[in-house]
Symmetry: C2
């Protein structure tokens, strides 16, 4: 596979992280998800927990992002810069899978990216996160909505694109219709098709 | 294939119609596109040309649609009703491919639909329609934009959903990244996956 980088953006609870790991395993290439957080934490000096939250989730909306910038770049801006550099460097090193973190946008000039967005209906996502023990059932609907909003705000703020705009992606898959393994197959197949095009 | 109906919504010039025909050919099932227009024309009494334009393209935006309704349903509303009935009936008859015409929305309660959206970047779409002789090169950019806007307005008005919202679709494919035949394979593979899930 020609230096193919596969970016997987995903709605919260849609199984995107698991799918990313399995794609990478089957292709025998690295998957950057928690590994990426660790790298960013090391290079930025921030705590890994801060990197995990602030590097993908905007705490407020557009206005809160703007207001705190009255006095110059925020910690989040610094983190974005480091994240941008690390993702660009990793993508230059060879084939890999990168989950989340606006990688599709950061690598928009990379010639061999396959950009995938994974989503699912809310009921399926709630069932998934409750089943995995990530959240109590009664809190799950609000939790899913909040996480998606934060991911969208973060992406929309730093990229000036819209997170859930299908135009950003070569392929989008609704994982409430397909199993995780089927989605993995579809992504690998798409990546191989790009190589033989 | 279990009474599988494949709906293909598409940006103008993205190759969706050709892809739909090829999917149907390979699966040995009917493809309703111009055939659908003919059926609607026969049952409604409208001219096929009017059906082709008014059954998928809103001439104006939301306001123009509203204003003409001051005096009751318009011809377009009547056409929508006929189109709705015919698409529902055809989908009940057996496996088929339906291109455009809000079929994904009309069939939202159908248990065996695969809803696909096909899109491509504007340059690729312009190249395609000019190559096929559908439009002069100098007029192509505006033509593509206008057609997309009209399709979106039509869909958004009658469905209350957003035409290009990835949440409506099980699969979206960027045909500026894949060949027509690759997209055909991806759609057939997805349909078969739903059957074996």
């Amino acid at each position: 596979m020609k230096n193919r980088v596969i970016t997987i953006s995903r709605e919260f609870g849609s199984g995107g992280r698991t799918i990313g790991k399995k794609v990478a395993e089957q292709l025998g290439i690295p998957c950057y998800d928690s590994e990426l957080i660790q790298k960013i934490a090391e290079e930025s000096g921030f705590d890994a927990k801060f990197v995990q939250e602030a590097g993908e989730y905007a705490p407020g909306g557009f206005l809160s992002n703007l207001s705190s910038r009255t006095f110059g770049p925020t910690n989040e801006d610094y983190l974005w810069k480091i994240q941008y550099q690390i993702i660009s460097r990793l993508a230059g090193q060879g084939p890999c899978v990168i989950v989340g973190r606006c990688a599709d946008y950061i690598l928009r000039e990379h010639p061999n990216c396959l950009n995938v967005f994974v989503h699912a209906d809310k009921a399926a996502r709630i069932q998934r996160i409750v089943g995995l023990g990530h959240c109590e059932e009664r809190k799950a609907p609000d939790f899913v909505t909040k996480k998606d909003k934060q991911r969208a705000n973060y992406y929309n703020f730093y990229s000036n694109n819209r997170w859930d705009d299908l135009q950003n992606y070569d392929l989008t898959i609704d994982t409430s219709r397909f199993t995780v393994d089927q989605a993995v197959d579809m992504i690998i197949d798409a990546a191989q098709k790009l190589d033989t095009k």
